[in-house]
């Protein structure tokens, strides 16, 4: 995955790095309802990332739509905050709507 270029001569490579940036890929499947994260890949820009995603992640007819997001643009929760963030909801089972009988007509919730 190394691209041998003289980065000092590369007008488009302001980071001075030889590697293409990392992109996270989201695909909406044939029958899926929302885009789903499928993996990541390297690409020079967003157009290139979409093409690469098409070739890497949809070659078995998996998708009808592709989203790409630069990995560095994703803000993520910190693993060390796991306790304060998620523990409080653990014992509040009443927040799940499992105590109701859903009519079939309501469909997928």
């Amino acid at each position: 995955m190394s691209k041998k270029t003289d980065s000092t001569e590369n007008a488009h490579n302001t980071s001075g790095q030889d590697e293409w940036p990392l992109w996270e890929i989201f695909i909406r499947g044939q029958h899926g309802m929302s885009h789903r994260h499928v993996g990541s890949l390297h690409a020079a820009d967003s157009e290139h990332a979409i093409k690469n995603a098409r070739d890497v992640y949809t070659r078995r007819n998996e998708g009808v739509s592709i989203w790409v997001v630069r990995a560095s643009d994703i803000a993520a929760s910190s693993p060390s905050d796991k306790g304060p963030l998620f523990d409080p909801s653990r014992d509040k089972i009443y927040r799940h709507p499992t105590f109701y009988d859903l009519p079939d007509e309501a469909g997928n919730m």
């Binding site: 890949l41 290139h48 890497v56």
Partner: protein, 251 residues
Amino acid sequence: MTEALFEFLLRQGDNSLVLGHRVSEWCGVAPALEEDIALANTALDLIGQTRLWLEYAAEVEGKGRSADDLAFLRDAYDFRNMLLVELPNKDFGQTLMRQFLFDAFQVPWLTALKSSSDQHIADIASKSLQEALYHLERSRDTVIALGDGTKESNARMQEALDRLWPYAGEVFRDDEIDIAMAKKHIAPRPSEIRQTWDATLKETFEAAYLTLSEDRFAHSGGRTGQRHTEHLGHMLATMQVLQRSYPGATW
């Protein structure tokens, strides 16, 4: 007439077979994982198109040969591909430049073949066009990205264009097969496609900061089978070795 149609179909099938094999040579060794898979996809598309063309060619010939027989048991002088597609890959830039020159022809060509008076040809063209459109988008973008990249990538793409250019024009030299096809409205004369091809090249190379030679000289002999380059035989030796060594082998 049957003979001319057979020749015509071999030209279509052999172009995609030989280029498909060349592109497949990148499998596992491309400069980036993403490009590796993209090239393998392109190769598979081309081999898939080959199957359609050569199956129909075998049917038209009517001598009991199969598409596999045509692909694996003909020698270099029986191949009817343009010289451009049989040249060795060289580096990644050269491979993509060749792909672009081919795709820029293939898209308007297949578009025209969709209106063929021969329904079977129209169907194959219609299916192949969707693949060719994507190939062109990808090869054009790569040519522009590398042409408008670093000093070195620009120089290497210019070198690729200069090397391949004398082989690119062969396809536009109409011969008696082309004229026979045009008369039956099976296909346009390839020369009719040239203007569209020229326009795509001009636009792309301007964006890529590459200079196109004014020279219209074109090597020929591939489409007629009269004079292939020395590279085709070597390529076929690799491609056909299994069927040559173990005739009729299946798995």
